[in-house]
Each structure stands twice: as structure tokens, then as C-alpha cells.
């Protein structure tokens, strides 16, 4: 069965410091991968998605970036964190989509990021 791992679970970082959050998926190949942010009282906001190695689509312009160095690895990074980057970050995967069918996304346990 497929599993998704995301770490760390919580992180406290000072403003201006770098960030690296990692997500890996097991039990499937060539998944679609996603990074979301959930701010308090708001819905999930899609930040990045990837349909393959090295293929990243950005949904929201910001100081975050994403990379997919391996098929089942997705990394969220920042060179300099802002206070507004605080939030709950969720990684998700789905089977590769085609034009005929949708596939549900399955989420990791999330990283709660606090910027001080």
C-alpha cells in the first residue's frame, strides 16, 4: 500500500532563515505531488504541483520554491523566511491524472511552521 511521509512535524524558525521541508511517497511510481499551505481559518492553498521529476508548476508567486529531485521526493524550500510564511504545510500525492478520470489526493501529516 502507498504511504506518504512528511517531516519535520513542527518547526520554529527565525525570520530570514532558510527552509527545507521534505516529503516522500512509497508504494507507487510516477505520482503527482503537491504542496499546500493551510492558514488558520482558511482553506488549503495550492502552492506547487509536480507531474514528474524536475517538473514543477507554481500556483502562487512568493518566496518559496519546490523541487523534485527523485520520482517520489518533493521538497519545499525558501532562502529567507518571512513572518507571513507561518502556517501548516501539507504534502499530498495522487495517481497520475488523465483526461478521463480524476484521482483523489492523499495527504501527509503536515508540518506546522512558526516564524518568529
Amino acid at each position: 500500500s502507498q504511504t506518504i511521509h512528511q517531516w519535520p512535524a513542527t518547526l520554529v524558525q527565525p525570520v530570514g532563515s532558510p527552509l527545507s521541508l521534505e516529503c516522500t511517497v512509497e508504494g507507487t511510481s510516477n505520482p503527482n505531488l503537491y504542496w499546500y499551505r493551510q492558514a488558520a481559518g482558511r482553506g488549503l492553498q495550492l502552492l506547487f504541483y509536480s507531474v514528474g521529476i524536475g517538473q514543477i508548476s507554481s500556483e502562487v508567486p512568493q518566496n518559496l520554491s519546490a523541487s523534485r529531485p527523485q520520482d517520489r521526493q518533493f521538497i519545499l524550500s525558501s532562502k529567507k523566511l518571512l513572518l507571513s510564511d507561518s502556517g501548516f504545510y501539507l504534502c499530498a500525492w495522487s495517481e497520475a491524472l488523465d483526461r478521463r478520470r480524476s484521482q483523489p489526493q492523499h495527504f501527509g501529516d503536515g508540518t506546522r511552521l512558526s516564524i518568529l
Partner: protein, 109 residues
């Protein structure tokens, strides 16, 4: 711009009550609608609806899609305290999910 709106924003009921959560959407290239339950961490998948009028059921939970009205409802019968959570509705466009802000349900004993 794609949009998903859920109502009510929050709800408090007593154990044993039946609740109905609503989701309406405006999405180009609609493909399907999904419901998730979020307790403390990861949202967990409940249902995926693609066809209008066909009810999906899992235990005390059921959901149905109305493509004409661009909406869906999630019903929970005989609620239990373990049903307390945020229920998220999401609509699939091409390759992307658009989420609503969720309905926070609290079931009191």
C-alpha cells in the same frame, strides 16, 4: 477564478443528531468533487463524486452531487463525538484541487 464555498462555517450539534454540510462551486473544467475529514493533522479522504444524483455512502456518512446546481451535500446521521472535525470540500479541475475553507463540526456528548 475557481471558487468553492462551504456552509455553514461551523456547527455544534448533540450526539445522535443528523447534520448536512453544503458545498457549492464555480470551477472551469469540472471533473469531480471530493470530501475530506480533517482532525488534527492530515485530511483523510471520504468520497469522490463525479456523477450527478448518485449517492456515495460509507457507514453513517453519505454524499451526493448536483451538477445542475453546482453543489454537493455531505450527510452524517447519528453523529458521534468522533465525528468532530473540519470537513473539507474540494473540486477537481484539470490536475488541480480547489478547496473550500471547510465546515468545523463539533459534536457534544
Amino acid at each position: 477564478e475557481d471558487k468553492v464555498v462551504q456552509s455553514p462555517l461551523s456547527l455544534v450539534v448533540h450526539e445522535g443528531d443528523t447534520v448536512t454540510l453544503n458545498c457549492s462551486y464555480e470551477v472551469t473544467n469540472f471533473r469531480s468533487l471530493l470530501w475530506y475529514k480533517q482532525e488534527k493533522k492530515a485530511p483523510t479522504f471520504l468520497f469522490m463524486l463525479t456523477s450527478s444524483g448518485i449517492e456515495k455512502k460509507s457507514g453513517r456518512l453519505s454524499s451526493i452531487l448536483d451538477k445542475k446546481e453546482l453543489s454537493s451535500i455531505l450527510n452524517i446521521t447519528a453523529t458521534q463525538t468522533g465525528d468532530s472535525a473540519i470537513y473539507l470540500c474540494a473540486v477537481v479541475g484539470f490536475q488541480k484541487l480547489v478547496f473550500g475553507t471547510g465546515t468545523r463540526l463539533l459534536v457534544s456528548p
